[in-house]
Symmetry: C4
Subunit: 347 residues, 4 copies
Amino acid sequence: PPYLDLDRLEARAREQLPASVYDYYAGGAETETTMAEAPASWRSWRLRPRVLRGTARVRLGTELLGTPVRTPIGIAPWAYQGMAHPDGELATARGAAARGALMTVSTSATHTLEEVAAAADGPQWFQLYRLHSNRHTDDLARRAGDAGYRALVLTVDVPLLGRRRRDLRHRFALPAGLRMANHPPEGDQPTLSDLATATWTFDDIARFGELSGLPVIVKGVLRGDDAARCVQAGASAVWVSTHGGRQVDPAIASAHALPEVVEAVGADVEIYADGGIRTGSDVLTALALGASAVFLGRPCVWGLATGGADGVAGVLAGLGEELTHTMALCGLDDVRSVPRDTITPAR
Amino acid sequence: PPYLDLDRLEARAREQLPASVYDYYAGGAETETTMAEAPASWRSWRLRPRVLRGTARVRLGTELLGTPVRTPIGIAPWAYQGMAHPDGELATARGAAARGALMTVSTSATHTLEEVAAAADGPQWFQLYRLHSNRHTDDLARRAGDAGYRALVLTVDVPLLGRRRRDLRHRFALPAGLRMANHPPEGDQPTLSDLATATWTFDDIARFGELSGLPVIVKGVLRGDDAARCVQAGASAVWVSTHGGRQVDPAIASAHALPEVVEAVGADVEIYADGGIRTGSDVLTALALGASAVFLGRPCVWGLATGGADGVAGVLAGLGEELTHTMALCGLDDVRSVPRDTITPAR
Amino acid sequence: PPYLDLDRLEARAREQLPASVYDYYAGGAETETTMAEAPASWRSWRLRPRVLRGTARVRLGTELLGTPVRTPIGIAPWAYQGMAHPDGELATARGAAARGALMTVSTSATHTLEEVAAAADGPQWFQLYRLHSNRHTDDLARRAGDAGYRALVLTVDVPLLGRRRRDLRHRFALPAGLRMANHPPEGDQPTLSDLATATWTFDDIARFGELSGLPVIVKGVLRGDDAARCVQAGASAVWVSTHGGRQVDPAIASAHALPEVVEAVGADVEIYADGGIRTGSDVLTALALGASAVFLGRPCVWGLATGGADGVAGVLAGLGEELTHTMALCGLDDVRSVPRDTITPAR
Amino acid sequence: PPYLDLDRLEARAREQLPASVYDYYAGGAETETTMAEAPASWRSWRLRPRVLRGTARVRLGTELLGTPVRTPIGIAPWAYQGMAHPDGELATARGAAARGALMTVSTSATHTLEEVAAAADGPQWFQLYRLHSNRHTDDLARRAGDAGYRALVLTVDVPLLGRRRRDLRHRFALPAGLRMANHPPEGDQPTLSDLATATWTFDDIARFGELSGLPVIVKGVLRGDDAARCVQAGASAVWVSTHGGRQVDPAIASAHALPEVVEAVGADVEIYADGGIRTGSDVLTALALGASAVFLGRPCVWGLATGGADGVAGVLAGLGEELTHTMALCGLDDVRSVPRDTITPAR
Ligand SMILES: Cc1cc2nc3c(=O)[nH]c(=O)nc-3n(C[C@H](O)[C@H](O)[C@H](O)COP(=O)(O)O)c2cc1C
Ligand SMILES: Cc1cc2nc3c(=O)[nH]c(=O)nc-3n(C[C@H](O)[C@H](O)[C@H](O)COP(=O)(O)O)c2cc1C
Ligand SMILES: Cc1cc2nc3c(=O)[nH]c(=O)nc-3n(C[C@H](O)[C@H](O)[C@H](O)COP(=O)(O)O)c2cc1C
Ligand SMILES: Cc1cc2nc3c(=O)[nH]c(=O)nc-3n(C[C@H](O)[C@H](O)[C@H](O)COP(=O)(O)O)c2cc1C
């Protein structure tokens, strides 16, 4: 149709993909409550348009940690993109670059971080997981700095994997023929002292900053107090996320956690949000609540699965158009200064 | 049936009209959230009837900007009435006049503003859009004054057209044989300086007042601060509206914006409201919230499509009867003084 | 079934009655919002049972305006009982007397007020409507006093009849063979001065008290300020009611109006409530909110239609049993002193 | 499936059991409102996970009234377990012991309290009902002390049995071949003075403590004031419960009553909760609200019916795994110190 129809896009992707792959992408943890609530939580706000402002042209461009982007809508890191399209992360990178959008590349990619960095010249961040030996993880951080990534995203909401019932049912595993390209060579095993430090702590923020030489973003924060501690510990930005409802369930929605994070650290650092962003007005709501940018997970999955790089670019373009249009109708012309009173709670 | 059944009226209209025309009339912007919520938002209030008041006869008559009307229920401006009935706006004008109701005539009419003014002797307002060259728009304002309209309604919620998915799907266009009667002659093009001033500003309120010699009403206001600025800028009245949910989506409902507009400017100017008004109790709720009058969009569309002038008059009569009845049962006898405490939030 | 199943009772009544009669009994005004919300509004409270109170026997008996009754659950006045059962009001009177419950007899009965008074020796109130000439209405009040009724119930929520769509569709009228037994002889017409005073005022309360020699109850009050004025004007009790959702729609529910009425006049007079009472816990909720008694409309209609006097008695017995049981489980033993904190808002 | 699927477990149990037995287990009182709301009420809270806490291993072990248990998820007392499985309470006891979980044994068991105590060496409490003569009831309390039970649970929400419509319809009775093992010999009848004291009072708490030599837990408390009186009267713990929605209906949900009980007595005694606990996050929510332990009713019924001791152990294991997982994802490692701010109201 002559507008972005995400439901239809998902339906088409579902037809093309094996059920276990579709479910891996589409599913969430436990009862999938948090996943289901995410889009609705953005829509628990209503817009309060301004009139007679003489607004001419809407500007979507902004800077994120000093990197110029053409849109505040970026691509969240998601794993195993080779299952969705033969070119996997390379296609996503090209789609993002075509729209001037930031792409976040997952540790669990099916191409190496250097390959994705080389695939397109758009701005990219590298997302780091604690999956392997400390040595290998440190190595990934250093390689990200070397490969030209603009920031390191520490995903902290996976001390262990969420219990995703669909995947447990399918006994999901990466299909044959695809590689975990950033995983260590077979022989590499966590040492005893690796296992002693079971998960990351706030100290790791500064450490990874030094290792990579990059600003560090902490992804997966849902509390104001945690956000403040991240900033004290050296984080350049905080990314409010429930990991697409794939980890804690039923966790508070990003849209409901965002205000307390903004209140706790708003003046000091950039704040991003993701989870259930599906329309231009969802984006505008997040910006009004204090986010500098938002990120898309599943919408880009369906774009990639159905159209490769073009599919990804199409999703970004469609949502960008909705955002532009809605801002113009609301008398706003700059994503960098969306007033808080643009929104009011729905009743 | 022996009472006004709007659902049935709409169903009959739907049967008669081409799908693309029905959808043009019935549809809203984006996900149609605002449109869907409009009727429900009036019904988020409950009535608190008064007893033993000896109420005898209910008076619906009032004055709007000095013009006497027999009912506080007017007809909102809506475009392309020729698609609904061969007589288009002329029939609506006759239906309105038959009931002593105010009619607002759209710029996007299929008869010229002079033709509609001449069609009936009921009170009329002219609604102005910023669609053309400044010269032509100014000209429409002057002609409205000359043609005997009682006020000029500036619709300010269309800096650009809302994204109505139904219309995008149908690639909706005015059917052959119908003319945009108030549009300029083919040759007229916006000048470069027209385009420089992309949308109206508060200054245009006074300017159009002078051009037309008429009181100016600003239609499409949803915020108290905007309403106050309109009044400061010379508006005689403010019309709270979401444009039937056809522009910003999801915008705050008129019923929820009305109280803050009343609070901001209530004492100084008249306030009107529209959007989802479907019953006499909806009207009473709007009056209790501080509106001096309400306006109907789609109900009159269905009336016109199914019954021409009589259909329009029938809708006005039906709602008027419901309003009279409900007021009498609530111990109220005058639409000009409905106490605020007639209503309480539904639970 | 071995418990009171009101849904089943209504279904059976529906099978037996002509559609227009069933709809007359079952229906409400306008969109039937108030009617539909009534039962739900009592259930917007939850019970907070007390334990270890050593409660032995629950007493349902109380006094209403000095008249002893065996249960706080009375029968509301409802019209045209002859359509439901050949014995009409006489059967209802017998059913009520069998359970020691108060019966309120409607002006619109199909037996004269004297006939109903003579039909059983249970306590009865007479409900007065303003339907006829002042002379005839005054006469009814006097006759009620003479016939042994214990109080006069002025129904003040019918300055004119609610618009009940089902009845309008059926063009409902009293079936042939039934008489409006309390109506004046054919010749009696309202005089010009009757028509001048279109509805009752607060002054009529004292006037009817004197005419009848009975305490006066005002039925149909939904506001605290109105309740206070009724008491000042001489009312002995106030009856909170939406007339079963048959008059103003959408009016505030009785359950939501009751607290403000109690707050306004609680200490001074007795307060009753009706509308949507369907379970023993609904009754207990009303008592906790400050009602001295509750009244049943439709449940008794279905009881009468399906079982005559026994059917009515069965409904009263069934609800009484539920009330007894629930009170015992809540550690309460006396309907005359149900603490307010027995309930808390549902969430 | 490779995770605990309680809906499926219940469906399988339903297939195996006679309808009247299934309904006895599954049903609640009156309109089953309280029963239906119980699971939803725990889910009216959302989790606020903590990140970067370096959490290593989650410990589920705790002490309840001084008795060590391996999990804060215990088994609530439920009657007539012989209908679900030939080994009845003995199987449940073995399943509980296998997981180190506390089992509460009902007075209405199909094996004597001594038999159940001997069936497994896990920690057990005995639940006392007031069903018989005072002499027999006192005797049960003494026998519980002698048999090695660690505490006596006085169930105080059954001054009389709730009206369970399903059971009334089935005319439910214990199937032939099963015995009420803790009931008195046939000849034992309540004396006149037994009947005079119709239900227990607060004084019975201390009395039963002395008779049994055990700490006394009061089960079925839903109010803060009642909880405080229980503690003053000598209770060692308070168990917040609606009896699975089988007594008062519509009673406040345990999840909504728990906070006021914690507020009233939290510092002084242990508090437990049950009713609608179905997921690990429900357990975590209860702990965050101040409970020291939670108890399962129906989930264990379905476990026993479908798998005997193993079925019971499987339910305990499944929920324990969910709790462990959710706690780890929330950055928590000890069930004995779950901070209140782990949860926030859902919106
Ligand atoms: C299939 C899938 C895989 C994901 N893989 C990762 C990942 O490797 N690293 C990460 O930080 N987040 C990952 N996420 C979470 C996303 O970055 C993002 O937080 C989430 O998808 C946003 O929600 P949305 O899908 O509703 O837009 C994944 C999400 C999905 C749906
Ligand atoms: C088919 C249609 C066309 C409309 N055209 C105009 C218009 O030309 N000018 C204008 O100011 N408003 C226009 N409106 C908005 C109406 O004036 C009014 O705000 C709205 O219809 C009220 O909501 P309702 O349809 O729910 O009653 C239009 C609305 C509809 C439904
Ligand atoms: C069929 C019917 C007829 C009624 N007739 C009268 C009447 O004659 N006088 C009166 O005061 N109220 C009348 N009522 C209102 C009842 O007294 C009472 O307020 C209402 O029925 C209570 O609500 P319920 O039906 O939900 O229990 C009538 C109600 C019904 C349903
Ligand atoms: C079939 C059944 C029988 C029960 N029997 C008893 C009992 O004998 N004694 C008692 O104190 N509670 C009894 N209960 C209540 C439970 O102890 C517990 O409070 C309730 O089941 C918890 O709710 P849930 O079933 O939603 O987990 C019973 C509950 C059920 C479902």
